[in-house]
Every structure is written in C-alpha cells, then in structure tokens.
Symmetry: C2
Subunit: 234 residues, 2 copies
Amino acid sequence: MAARQQNRSSQGRRRASHSMESVLTEAVALLDEAGAPALTFRALAQRLGGGVASIYWYVANKDELLDLATDHVIGSILSDVEALPGGDDPVDDLRAIAVTLFDAIVARPWLGAYFMRNTNAQSNSLRLYEHLGAQTLRLDLTARQRFHAVSAIIGVVVGSAVDLGQEPPQEVLDGHLGRDEFLGRAAQAWRELDPADFPFVHGIVDEFDGHDDADQFRSALDLTLAGLRLQAGT
Amino acid sequence: MAARQQNRSSQGRRRASHSMESVLTEAVALLDEAGAPALTFRALAQRLGGGVASIYWYVANKDELLDLATDHVIGSILSDVEALPGGDDPVDDLRAIAVTLFDAIVARPWLGAYFMRNTNAQSNSLRLYEHLGAQTLRLDLTARQRFHAVSAIIGVVVGSAVDLGQEPPQEVLDGHLGRDEFLGRAAQAWRELDPADFPFVHGIVDEFDGHDDADQFRSALDLTLAGLRLQAGT
DNA sequence: AGTACGATAGAACACCGTTCGATGCTGTGC
DNA sequence: GCACAGCATCGAACGGTGTTCTATCGTACT
C-alpha cells in the first residue's frame, strides 16, 4: 500500500507532490541565489516542478511565504546561537549572539530586510529574542532597561544589516566591477569635494575606502555594549 | 510672448508641462499619503495631469525616482538640522541631530526603508553625513573611530526606523484596530507563554505593552552615545 | 517659413501576485 | 469491486506594475 509517494520522481512526472518543507527550502534557495527579487511564485513553481497555484495551498500569499521562509532560516540561526558556549560575562555573551546574528545576515543579505518582522507569532524569532533577553537577566537592570537594551542590540544588528543588504548598483552584480573598486570610485568622488565644505568626509575617506563591514558592525555593537555595561554598573 | 506656461491650467488642458520640482513634490505627496506602494508611475502621471511615459523624461527608472524623492525630503531635514542651535557638548549635538532625523522618519515612515541608500552622489545625504561627522571632529578620536561612530549613530536611527516603518498588519490600516490594541493583543499572547521557557519575555511584557517608540529609540541612542563618550575619554 | 529639438503622450510588452474552475489522486464506506 | 468525498494540483485568466517604442506637439532659432 501507498508505495508511491516515497519516490515521487520515478515515473509519475505528471503531477508534483510538495510539502511545506520543500516549498520553504526552495524559496530560501531562490533567495540565497539571487536575492529577494528572484523569489517569484512562477520561479518557485518551476523549481518545485509544479504549477503556480499549488503554492497557494501551503501559503496564503507572498507576505506569508516571506514570513515563513524567514522563520525557517531563523530556526537554523537559533541553533547556532544555542550552540554558543556561553561564559562568565553576560555582556560578552550578548556580543557573541549579536555577532552570530550579523554573520548569518552577511551570509544571506536578503534577511536584513525581513529580519524581526514578526515578533508576534509563536515563531523562532521570539525564541531568539528570549535568548538575547536571558543574558540581560544576569545584569543589574530594571525591566525597562532590559527591554530597551535588547531592542538596542537588535537595532544595531538591523541597522548594519540594512546598509549591507542593499543591492549593489548593478555593475557589481554583473561582475563588471568589484566591490572594492566600486567603493574606491565613491571614495574618489569624496576626495574631490571641497575640503572646506566637507572636512569630516575628507578626514575619513581613507577609512571608508576598502572598509570592512564586519569591523563597522563590531564597532557599533561595542559602543552600545559599552553603554550597557556602564548602565549596569559593572 | 510665451505668456502660456505660467498658467498651465487655463485653457491649454491638452498637454501638461511638468518640472523636476513638481514631479518630486507630487511623488513625495503620494508617499506621504499612502506609503511606498502608492507611488506608481500611473498614479503619479494622473496626479500630474499627464501621461505615464513623460515621467521618464525626468527620471531614468523607479529606483532613481525613489532616490531623488528621498533626497528631496532629506534636503528639508537638512534645513532642520542646520537650524539646530548647537551647544558646548559635541555628544549632545550629535544626539540632537539624531533625534531630528528620527522625528523626520516618524513623520514619514516610508523614509526608513530608503534612508541613506545613496551616500555616493552629490546629494543632501552627504551633507547630512558631514553634519554628523563634524561633531566628532570636536572629540578626541582617531579617524577610524570617527568613521565608526557616525556609522553607529546612523545605524541606530535606521535600525529603529525599520522597526517603525513596518506596515501594520492590515487591521490597523483599516481602522478596525488601534495600534495600542494591536500591541496589547501581542502582549497578551506573550503573557500566555510558559514562564519557565520565556522568563525574559514575561519580565518585559508590561514594558512592551503600550511602549513608546520614541523612548525606545532614545534609549538605544543614549547607550551608543554613552559608549562614544567613554571612548572619547571625557 | 522651415527646421531642430525639448517635452509630451498613447499603446504595447513582459512580468508580477492572485483567483477561478476544473481535474487528478487517494483513502474510506458500502 | 466501486462510487464517493476531499485533499492536492494545475492551466488559464485578471488586474496591476515598470518600462519601452514610436509618434506627436510646441517652441525657439536660422
């Protein structure tokens, strides 16, 4: 009985049988390969070897598809976070979690735009949120300070991620122009500004040229964490 | 001679004559009234009383339209920033600028998604960037620290703005549900979680319920600025 | 007057999310 | 063994989007 569905690609070929898992997996694969604009119902259907309308049996609309796909990968990020060793210093643990988050977004730039979009549902986002917050319970803070601290850390991650998630302006996607070259070109434009009008920009253009996004994020995070440490009075 | 174009709505009526200014103004008006999805070439053309393709004479594509519209409003934000009094403490001045930015995004939620998308051009964004950076010149920091400090502050603003710019889930847009009511409902769901699994969430749910976004932003900003002050050694 | 050119516009194209109605497949009660 | 119910699937169509093509108008200059 029912010895068919375990081998869905043998001779059936007429109809495709999916599953929530496969839909989400392929959706994430599309997002990973070519970013948010690549995830269309038609492309996804073709990849699943089925029809367009079939996807709507698993998902109400595109927003829900995005939400579920996002939650799907946040699940694996959650695993990474839970695998973190954890040490004496809660602030260091907060930093480690935040860095893990950032790394995950670097690997999947499209995540930046949808990250933490749905804190409401019983999703993995909430568990991640709890993980961050748990560290603040080890600090001497008020409830409000804890709430704001976690929001601030997520804000730093998202803020850096948005900068990062921006699609490069077409030339680098085509491979005609490397990222460093693109940065260098912008830097050159900055150098040609009037130093009297733009003293600051002139002062940091060398830092901007060829800068590392991870460094930038780490610095922003450390500023926030330093402030937090001060607040906790340790 | 040429006593026509100053009164383009009298009897001409056949053809519409626009200008870069009017295109951008109406585009911003559409964004302000109903958010990003409301800005379509057809809606904009109708508003300008002209054809769809005419807009392409002023603008290469929608991305450029968004960039220019964004830069247009950033110009007025820049005026607000330049009107700021400015005091003894550079960090306080940084805070004032950041708060001005945040307020502008609160007034125009769609800005959050596009803010600081193009630091490359000779735009108003760059001037705003310079304004922020100018304050760091009054602090005892290295060039790299200054670069990272400004990035961090922008990151906090953008991070908070993204949270804020999220379209509410349809019910509140229809007016069927107030924002506070919506927050309260989510809070209630949090309260019903197992306190053993979610100690942090339970501890801050009262803070989350009916929280003020401005407070949240201010706290995140203050953490970063406290860290910066520590770094500058004042 | 004729012409070059800045500026406008309608129609069409390809693609998108979404819906509708019909159709195949599968397990269940007779 | 067979009709039936419902789960799952799909093709085709609809309305809407950004974008392009081509034709045209109006104005200023020679």
